[in-house]
Symmetry: C2
Subunit: 335 residues, 2 copies
């Protein structure tokens, strides 16, 4: 039904090679015939069929973006960064949201394929050794964002230091009873985000000579609601913490919600600090650790384009800074 290159060629009275040449500027064409072709293209509203093109060129002009926890604002902001640079390019973007482990495995097995996509942008997930073998064998450019691997270009964010900074801030304010609310330390996806931030938390406490208190640690599935529930438990302890460091802003919002429900004043009776600095954090005046989410998405695609355009060269990973943003949810403890 749609016009093909043959239709255009016939209408312009030329061969298909000429049409292709005009469209791709792949070889010089006489200006007169060039115009004939162009008007035929216009009249037929012709646009080359991408599948034909891909098959012939061996490139898909498509990149896949793999995103776990798509419900989280932080992931969406990263994606936003990606979209902004994709829009300026002539690449298409294939979106893969992963919510379950089987889904994750299926995606890692089927998506990184030459002929399917030209590159892979993976958020927050660690490829297994098997995944890596496939990626290497298929020789498909792959960039990690918010995780890292020695063999793969990536946008690195130092979670350990980020978390440490946050907790150090609380300690400097005078807190000694500091809770940590997070995702499961060994999450089913093999992510090490929770663990790294936990490490930073531990180091900050250790540096201040504060022993770890298991009561002050809770883990649950990513969500504001879970954050709220865990906070309830923690605040109902006989000796509740005076401050809570949340794994993410999402969790931190749940903490704030719980505090509100329990009439616990923030930051008077409870200091709260989040992680990510999603847009909303500013709105609720949440003290948090900024991740430059949008920028991480932008740099991720940039790195990926580099990898795609310079085969045999693995772009050097980039490290992105993380910084404490002090707003209105942290203060010295009541006494």
């Amino acid at each position: 039904m749609p016009a093909t290159i043959h239709d255009v060629a016939k209408r312009a009275g030329v061969g298909i090679g000429t049409v292709s040449s005009v469209l791709n500027n792949s070889r010089p064409v006489n200006e007169a015939t060039r115009q004939k072709v162009l008007s035929a293209v216009d009249e037929l509203d012709f646009i080359p069929n991408p599948s034909g093109r891909r098959l012939s060129m061996g490139k898909t002009h498509t990149i896949a973006v793999v995103i776990p926890f798509f419900t989280l604002a932080s992931q969406v902001e990263r994606l936003r960064g990606v979209m902004s640079v994709i829009a300026e390019s002539d690449y298409d973007i294939n979106l893969f949201a992963v919510e379950t482990v089987p889904q994750r495995n299926r995606i890692f097995q089927t998506v990184p394929r030459r002929g399917r996509v030209d590159g892979l942008l993976i958020f927050s997930l660690n490829p297994t050794e098997a995944d890596l073998r496939r990626i290497r064998r298929q020789d498909i450019p792959t960039v990690l964002v918010e995780t890292s691997h020695p063999d793969l270009p990536h946008i690195f964010l130092d979670d350990v230091v980020g978390a440490q900074t946050a907790v150090k801030h609380l300690i400097e304010l005078g807190h000694r009873k500091i809770g940590y609310i997070s995702d499961h330390l060994d999450d089913p996806f093999g992510t090490n985000l929770s663990r790294n931030r936990y490490l930073g938390y531990g180091r900050a406490l250790e540096a201040a000579g504060i022993p770890l208190n298991p009561d002050y640690q809770r883990q649950g599935w990513h969500s504001r609601e879970q954050g709220r529930l865990m906070t309830f438990e923690m605040l109902n302890l006989p000796d509740p913490p005076t401050a809570i460091f949340a794994f993410s802003d999402e969790f931190a919002l749940g903490v704030l919600e719980a505090a509100r429900d329990l009439n616990v004043d923030v930051p008077g009776d409870l200091s709260v600090i989040g992680y990510d600095d999603i847009e909303l954090a500013r709105f609720v005046q949440l003290t948090t650790v900024r991740q430059h989410l949008i920028e991480s998405g932008i740099q991720g695609v940039e790195l990926l384009f580099e990898a795609i355009n310079t085969p045999d060269i693995i772009p050097t990973p980039r490290q992105m800074s993380t910084e404490l943003v002090i707003r209105a949810t942290t203060a010295p403890p009541a006494r």
Copy 2:
């Protein structure tokens, strides 16, 4: 580099037709050869090249989702609904974010093509007559969400009624000075969302015999910040409104922010009502008009799949209800 169907055929000692048959169950195959093929597939980690497949079958197994204002939480929630059903299907999803008018036009011109995608899901945007002609000529299934067109299947949301309900609520509380903060009534994308909600606003006022006051209307670009600025202006009026109906929750958040900055008590001195019921609305206890965002995304794809699977039949549009959700930002006026 990646294995092709020929590699598999050779390794299994069969013809490529047989391999294809096994993979697609397209014709009966002897169990023994079937097993030979299957193990060859396994050993070579073979997955058919989508481009070859698409070219041969004339279907892409891909749908495009066109999303304006991707920065808005409401749009992301819709997309979330879409992703949840896509994940269960064997379709790929191509994402197109539109932020500018030229971008919009380019996308409408190049994306709705057979051979490019099997279907089109459009959020919040109205196709022009020219767009429609192309869609028809290319015979490409297209579903509209949050807008409507008599010739296209769509998920319809009655903005006029939704807005009217919201403003009626304010009037019933006793308000007579009610502001409307929105996107531009004639937005450059040709959307009529702002205008429809404005219509509902006007009708509610009219029904109560309250004259329209131009001072109580402000328009600006979608964003919390714009909402904040417009609210500043409005609250600085000699005779400021006692209630504000915002075009979206996003704007409403800006209103709340402005009120907070000006020390105007909500809902004591100012009632605020939004539109959409994004997840965040519940968190800030915003009274709003619920849109069932996620569900609208889900139903949108469902309709699209229907359209794809039953050619020649245009699925009947679906109407989704809209409902007032009263929370903590609305109350009777101070005096």
